[in-house]
Symmetry: C2
Subunit: 315 residues, 2 copies
């Protein structure tokens, strides 16, 4: 079994490399084989029954899989299982969170936008829109602080075994901060200070996530969604910004950069309509909130072997 | 004894108030009485032998005393006794630190200026001088981070029982940050974010100091010292800046603001020449590094009662 897992992990890495090499075409049969293997691993199925996942390299593709990190590398020390829902604007993060809200042992946390709108009386989000170059540094610092607070918060209900977050402090570091630096809004000194803060936090505070659920979408699909849902703060959103953010998510979650991919990752096809997405959530429910459905109370380190078994992440 | 202590604490507070009330003249005999009482408390003497302390309200005064905080409110959890040396530019902080370097169980930490000069290649200190309004926010954020790292660092030698720091993260928050905000270099949003970071740190990390030694000086004296020592980076220093910094130190350390004065405080007359200062250090040696001289190894919480006795901070 271990040999098979090791072989699969190697193939998964090859596949990721192939996807990420521009212009390289991946053999269709190999794609399909790998996809089925990965589906079987994450769902625990032995047949070849397909899910709604579609894999189409060369354009904005969706991909279903889970990363090979050993889950027992994470020391949870009695805290709940932490899940971050990641994805572009319009990827369906809120809908996903709403789906999991119904479970009594799950607590969900939206993005702390209200805090960004009122920092002791100042609206940092508004300031950012008026002059991004002037305000991006302090805004990023505050996003880092507020995400740190959210992600390390104790659950309100002591029976909560799973915490689900809309985005994460890791997202802020590796997706939005990288994006602002690449685009030139953040200068190198601001970037370096924010990076050093992140390193300090990571080394001194348990900000570990136990699972990232990446709602992978194409910029075209989310652009249409954003236009049709007509939220006032998104009215000025440019298509190019969604393309940039998509690329930032891809670089963070789909690359082989060791700094980035040390968290178990479940990639779902976010281009599907809501009804199809809910079918995917149903399929992966046990992976995401398995602690709860199997009746495990507040997980601690002694529960890890049971949890691993429960989650079938035994590679 | 407890009643006497309580009475003395009340008088100390009255005296502080009197000193801080502009234009108010304090009765000379009361001053001298209080001064002697305070000297006796901190030195443990029962006679009225005077030290070099001089108290002269109405101009930049020096004042010798120690604050009434109960030392057992601090939970040190096995770490060394932490002392911060505070004071204006030219107050003699380096000389003080050099004095205590000689003790084998003391480790000393200068200000992390080299880090500020090289943040992954950028010289933040230089950038700050070129455009203070543009760079003060990220500079303050980095000072906060580097002081946090220094102040929570493990000693290199496992026999170290006392860590002595040149300034502190508390200084940064209550002296330099306040100063930058009052002077208008820091806007309210930057100030609020840095303040919220400080609050998070204070609530989540042990940054407690066990003693602050305040080398209290007059701006006139330190201005002369700074001019004569001729350090290149201090060549452009204005007298008014030293006055402002003096006031910031006074507001922080000599006020009755509860946010500020929760750390045991030893105030020494920093206007004296080096030879006189060294006499003061000799007198207060046991207060500052008593753990070492009494042969206490690495202090832990069970040592606290002994340490308290040793330090004679039993009020």
């Amino acid at each position: 079994m271990l040999k098979l897992i090791s072989e699969l992990n190697r193939k998964l890495i090859d596949l990721k490399k192939a996807i990420l090499t521009p212009g390289k075409r991946v053999h269709k049969q190999f794609q399909e084989d790998m996809e089925n293997v990965l589906i079987n691993i994450v769902t625990g199925k032995t047949n070849n029954e397909k899910t709604t996942s579609v894999f189409s390299p060369g354009k904005q593709s969706s991909f279903l899989g889970i990363s090979p990190l050993k889950i027992d590398e994470i020391n949870r020390e009695g805290r709940p299982f932490r899940v971050a829902i990641e994805g572009n604007i319009g990827a369906g993060k809120s809908t996903c969170i709403d789906y999991f809200k119904r479970f009594p042992s799950v607590e969900t946390y939206g993005e702390p936008i209200d805090w960004w709108r009122n920092v002791d009386g100042d609206n940092l989000l508004e300031l950012l829109y008026t002059d991004i170059d002037k305000w991006i540094s302090v805004f990023q610092s505050y996003v880092q602080l507020t995400r740190l607070k959210v992600q390390t918060s104790k659950p309100q209900n002591q029976n909560t075994t799973v915490q689900i977050f809309e985005r994460s402090i890791q997202n802020n570091r590796f997706c939005f901060l990288e994006h602002a630096y690449r685009k030139g809004s953040l200068n190198s000194a601001d970037y370096a200070v924010l990076d050093q803060w992140y390193r300090w936090i990571r080394s001194n505070v348990d900000i570990n996530l136990d699972l990232i659920v990446y709602l992978r979408t194409s910029p075209e699909v989310v652009y249409e969604r954003v236009k049709s849902r007509n939220r006032p703060e998104e009215s000025g959103l440019q298509f190019q910004y969604l393309v940039d953010l998509h690329e930032s998510h891809e670089k963070w979650l789909m690359s082989n950069d060791e700094r980035f991919n040390n968290i178990p990752l479940l990639v779902l096809d976010g281009n599907q309509p809501i009804s199809e997405m809910e079918k995917q959530y149903k399929i992966f429910e046990e992976k995401i909130i398995g602690h709860e459905t199997k009746g495990l109370k507040r997980a601690d380190s002694t529960d890890l072997s049971k949890a691993k078994k429960n989650l079938k992440m035994d590679f």
